[in-house]
């Protein structure tokens, strides 16, 4: 797997392989975007600091210009005026990025409008982007229509302490999925009937799927009180420096 320091052999493959639906401009454009800062940083600073790559930001590629926007995306753009912030497309998946305050409104629209009829909530999850200023979390709902057999993703960007209205009233399936998001990311849902932790014990501290949650092996203290463990670890690190 990791033989030699050359990731070169992968590069010739990458441009050749993406075939369907004009996906190729996407990766190159995206790959080009994060390069300038790292290049600018590399010559000026000593090596150890240059090693620390800038934390990633969400890809959210814009759809290629020659690709027609499907009817359900156009319907949301015109039907819920001003809610759609961005439309993104990648390898065949359409994503509608909406304002967090209107997430539930857009979901209701997508479920009830003829031509959309997204009656099935496949998945609801979150992504943590600590590097993004102001809006830390992405809340992602994957919808499916059992009548029209189409898929769309709805995404809302949330600040760390921002609550979002629950979609359990729209799809009862969201109940446990929202509980899991609350458990793993600490995102709060207003109007949820029963917002408890789902997988972790009820007295657990911290939210494990956050990127800043410690990954190291569980000692006794970590199991009992992760916050205290974190403090102890930081104190030890500071003492080490002195």
């Amino acid at each position: 797997m990791s033989e030699g320091p050359k990731p070169a052999p992968e590069n010739p493959d990458t441009p050749g392989s993406p075939k369907p639906e004009a996906a190729s401009p996407g990766p190159q454009m995206k790959a080009a975007a994060p390069k300038p800062p790292s290049k600018a940083a590399a010559p000026g600073t000593p090596k150890p600091e240059a090693k620390a790559a800038p934390p990633p930001l969400p890809p959210d590629q814009a759809p290629p210009a020659d690709l027609a926007v499907p009817a359900f995306v156009a319907a949301v753009q015109s039907g819920v005026a001003g809610a759609v912030e961005q439309v993104s497309y990648w390898v065949g998946d359409w994503t509608v990025i909406v304002a967090a305050g209107r997430f539930a409104e857009v979901c209701t629209f997508l479920r009830d409008t003829p031509g959309c009829q997204f009656d099935y909530l496949s998945d609801l999850t979150a992504v943590d982007w600590p590097a993004r200023a102001g809006k830390r979390f992405d809340l992602v709902a994957s919808l499916y229509s059992t009548r029209l057999r189409q898929r769309v993703r709805v995404k809302a960007r949330l600040a760390e302490d921002e609550a979002v209205s629950s979609v359990t009233g729209i799809w009862p399936a969201a109940n446990w999925l929202e509980r899991e998001v609350y458990d793993m990311f600490g995102v709060r849902f207003t109007g949820h009937p029963d917002l408890r932790r789902l997988l972790m014990p009820s007295d657990w501290q911290g939210h494990p799927q956050r990127k800043d949650y410690p990954l190291e092996g569980p000692g006794e203290l970590l199991m009992e009180s992760p916050q205290d463990w974190l403090k102890a670890r930081q104190a030890a690190a500071e003492a080490d420096v002195k």
């Binding site: 797997m1 990791s2 990731p7 052999p9 992968e10 493959d13 990458t14 050749g16 392989s17 993406p18 075939k19 369907p20 996906a23 996407g26 990766p27 995206k30 790959a31 994060p34 790559a53 990633p56 969400p58 890809p59 590629q61 990648w90 390898v91 065949g92 998946d93 994503t95 009656d119 099935y120 909530l121 496949s122 998945d123 999850t125 992504v127 943590d128 992602v140 994957s142 059992t146 057999r149 898929r151 993703r153 799809w171 009862p172 399936a173 109940n175 446990w176 793993m184 932790r197 789902l198 997988l199 972790m200 014990p201 494990p208 799927q209 949650y213 990954l215």
Partner: protein, 374 residues
């Protein structure tokens, strides 16, 4: 729930009991907090997480190839379909073309896996209802499937048998004939199960009209797989969003009418026949050619995100993967486990039924706790 009954000696208080986490019918570590009025269930609150290993978090710190064997450990009685869903998601993220031969082999493996998973379900479901013979029959045939898997990839439970871009090994010589022979054996055994259960009066009394859920409710609560189809919803990822070689296969999607436990049994039983039909077509039609596509040696998909779903034996198994384009591990790795979404419907199903029916209803939604908790 105090009523003005003239007999004060009857205590009509609600009783809250724990069923599990160590209960033989929960097939793992599932705790149900049942609120009872006598023998009747008023409410049910499933408590899960006993088997939580943090596979999503682990995967965000492993490279793309190492994750394949983590997916084995989710639904550990259907490891091949877990592998398939994952590798296809990464292939989609890469827009990788998988050779036709590999897609056929994957189809055979995932249908064999469906047969094995349904056999285990059939046996344990029937055993929960008191029919122990069916468990022995089911495990007997499942052994044959495991032998086929062992011959193909060397493992019997956690196969780790797919790679991003294709298949790691070709089918051994003569394997296709053995698969066909297994299909004949399995086909001949199906009437035996039916003889024991389908017309069995005890089984029918325990399953008919138990846990009825309408099509609209089933869609709303996110049921997937056989339980959703038993409510009469035509939804099969293999048909709606074909993957592997399913677009070249001929098969039917069995649907139920009433949406009760008996229908869910009939649907799965018919799925045996359809799976065998697919296996026969696929194994006879395996084309010549390479088994591995042009996958790079270092898997590092371009920045982007995708959700990809397959029809696992338990239902819609989805993977949502975000790649940042710079790292060799996914930035976000999310599994949409069918068992979790089906288990969520359990309180709705058991309300108003007897405690003994809870056992039947846990069996009918066919959960594996390794997948529920991840």
């Amino acid at each position: 729930m105090h009523t003005d009954t003239p007999l004060p000696m009857f205590d009509t208080d609600e009783l809250v009991i724990n069923m599990g986490p160590q209960h033989p019918s929960t097939h793992g570590v599932l705790r149900l907090v049942l609120k009872l009025d006598g023998e009747r269930v008023i409410d049910c609150d499933p408590v899960i997480g006993y088997l939580h290993r943090g596979i999503e978090k682990l995967s965000e710190n492993r490279d793309y190839t190492q994750i394949i064997l983590l997916t084995d450990r989710m639904d550990y009685v259907a490891a091949a379909t877990n592998n398939l869903g994952y590798v296809q998601t990464i292939e989609k993220l890469y827009s990788l073309e998988v050779p036709r031969r590999a897609r056929y082999i994957r189809t055979v493996l995932s249908e064999l896996q469906r047969v094995a998973s349904h056999l285990l379900w059939l046996g344990t479901h029937a055993a929960d209802l008191g029919a122990l013979t069916v468990l022995l029959f089911g495990l007997r045939e499942r052994e044959l499937v495991l032998d086929l898997f062992e011959e193909y990839c060397g493992a019997r439970l956690t196969y780790n048998t797919m790679r991003i871009g294709g298949q790691p090994v070709d089918v051994p010589p003569g394997w296709d004939r053995k698969v066909l022979a297994f299909c004949d054996v399995q086909e001949s055994k199906l009437p035996e199960y039916e003889q024991l259960l389908t017309g069995n009066r005890i089984f029918m009394e325990r399953t008919k009209d138990i846990g009825v859920i309408t099509a609209a409710d089933a869609i709303g609560v996110g049921l997937c797989g056989p339980p959703l189809r038993a409510s009469g919803v035509y939804r099969d990822v293999r048909k709606d969003e074909p993957y592997a070689a399913y677009d070249e296969m001929e098969f039917d999607v069995p649907l139920g009418v009433r949406g009760d436990t008996y229908d869910r049994y009939l649907v799965r039983l018919e799925e045996f026949r359809q799976s065998l039909r697919i296996i026969r077509q696929a194994v006879q039609g395996i084309p010549e050619g390479p088994i591995m596509g042009k996958a790079p040696r270092l898997i590092k998909p371009p920045a982007g995100e995708t959700y990809h779903a397959i029809e696992a034996p338990k239902g819609e198994l989805g993977y949502f993967v975000v790649s940042d384009g710079k790292s060799v591990s996914p930035y976000r790795f999310r599994v949409r486990p069918p068992s979790l979404c089906n288990l969520q419907a359990l309180p709705q199903l058991v309300r108003g039924h007897l405690v003994a029916d809870v056992v039947a209803l846990i069996g009918t939604i066919d959960i594996v706790l390794g997948e529920v908790d991840r």
